[in-house]
Symmetry: C2
Subunit: 313 residues, 2 copies
């Protein structure tokens, strides 16, 4: 039996692992194998340039950062399996974890499986991912690639409006592509967006494809009222159509919110089951940054270690 098992391999999972192993706990981390559709390391592995993780003034790529953090886990003595956890039994301690090739038991558990930004899945999307296409305006909007260039945001909710406002500080023109003739965003947010000269909303419009040579150069749009297709030249495309937290494997054993995120006591990583903690994007639909995820990973480890101290098996 393990002292602690961590499911997930992004900044939250590995920070939890580093703290746990360093605290002398027998620590195992399941990094998954294309779990949630992304490589070990999580969503950051789909990110090119990171300029806002403190400690790296020159910036680095997402995969580079995750290779380094993983190395730190290994150095601290974390045992890592490149297997996806398929199911978990939280009905009693020790908790039981199952992958396609093994079953393990653990005294405490940290879930840090992240969330995946939704994409449209248009034909040439993969080709231009991170070559103009992003799912995080806060992360990527300030990159040189997008400065003084026309950009497009897909979505109609508050997040999409926030991203458009944020991007308007960098881009020359921001198109918001929205399939309906009204926004879901709050009235206050709509007002600010509509008052922003740089932002233009393309109503009743859907995106059919993206294109360019090496990097993104245009999006192919269609007005669904007129059925007219047209190319819009842009250097950046930002998806703001929501995220899907990776919680299906929990099979309803932890309390989730309506969108599927794990509910934690505010300001902690405590879940609805004693001895189970949640860190990173799987429990955060507000901040969603690598550094905030890492912070909650540390919190989860400290809380888990304290629980284990008080409730040994």
């Amino acid at each position: 039996m393990k002292d602690i098992i961590i499911v997930g391999s992004g900044p939250a999972g590995h920070t939890a692992a580093i703290y746990s192993a360093r605290a002398g706990l027998n620590t195992t981390l399941f990094e998954g194998w294309m779990a949630g559709g992304v490589a070990p390391g999580g969503q950051l592995t789909t990110t090119n340039e990171i300029e806002n993780f403190p400690g790296f003034p020159e910036g680095m790529t997402g995969p580079e950062l995750m290779v380094i953090i993983r190395k730190q886990s290994v150095k601290q003595g974390v045992e890592i399996f490149t297997e996806t956890v398929e199911s978990i039994d939280l009905s009693s301690r020790p908790f039981k974890i199952k992958t396609s090739s093994r079953e393990m038991e653990t005294a405490v558990l940290i879930v840090a499986t992240g969330a995946i930004a939704r994409r449209m899945g248009v034909p040439n999307e993969e080709k231009f991912w991170q070559k103009g296409i992003s799912a995080c305006a806060v992360c990527d909007g300030a990159l040189p690639l997008f400065r003084n260039q026309p950009l497009v945001v897909i979505g109609g909710g508050d997040t999409a409006m926030e991203e458009a406002m944020h991007l308007s500080k960098f881009g020359s023109k921001i198109y918001v592509v929205h399939r309906r003739d009204e926004l879901r965003a709050s009235k206050a947010m709509q007002k600010r967006v509509l008052a922003n000269d740089k932002i233009e909303i393309l109503w009743n419009t859907v995106m059919l494809d993206v294109g360019g040579s090496d990097v993104l150069e245009y999006v192919l749009l269609k007005n669904i009222k007129t059925d007219k297709e047209f190319k819009q030249e842009v250097k950046g495309l930002f998806y703001a159509i929501g995220h899907t937290p990776n919680t299906a494997f929990l099979d309803g054993q932890l309390d989730l919110d309506d969108a599927g995120y794990i509910l934690t006591n505010p300001g902690t990583t405590v879940t609805s089951i004693p001895g189970v903690y949640a860190a990173g994007d799987v429990q955060d639909k507000v901040y969603r940054q690598a550094i905030t995820s890492a912070g909650t990973g540390c919190m989860a480890s400290l809380e888990a270690a304290k629980y284990l101290e008080e409730n040994p098996l």
Copy 2:
């Protein structure tokens, strides 16, 4: 008038600054001049080896980490003043910030002034600080210096007991020096400590001084019932006698808890005054790690930016 002023220069302050400047906000940071008794960079500048900040598998010193993070702030365009903020007027926006040599106004404010670990102030303390003396067992306990060595913890509360339990995984013997004949710690915690063979509580005992050649080799103790002085050989001394948050300059304008920490809405950095946010150890008496501080610095910046967007001046 500035968009955003940040007071404090630890991981929380600089992460807030990096995010704010990168979001296109006109950002100023006051790093202080020996504010709270420590150099710009905060408490980390009093730490030697850091092994648990994700991204640095080989570890680094506290001052090194803070030099790098400060460089990142500067690179992102943050204006930094090496002056201590003496007073703040939060009675109306724009908020007014005053140092010994300038006054400035800001639309939003982030307080990240940290907390200082209390020390005993014995004669030779400074000489052996970080050469055997630490104020954070979680941070430093796992260092090679302390492995299989006798260690001493000063304090009698829950934190002191937690630190003793944590250190018992690394040290050969843990002495807890406590000036009274009973502990303030919870009964459950006392029970665990008393059941731990490696831990010995030295009741009715105070520390008079520390000593050694290059690094700490002993503490000079005194039993206050018998008045007997004696040397106890130890390689490590861990203070667990509380922290003092740096909030005096706020002069009661923000809601604080009984211990002087800034109260924030749980899970956020929102304080009692709209447009004022608090990040890092000045609002955290639970986790207190560099990485958790950095996480809340990011949160404060995102919340401040959103507030400014919705409440421009």
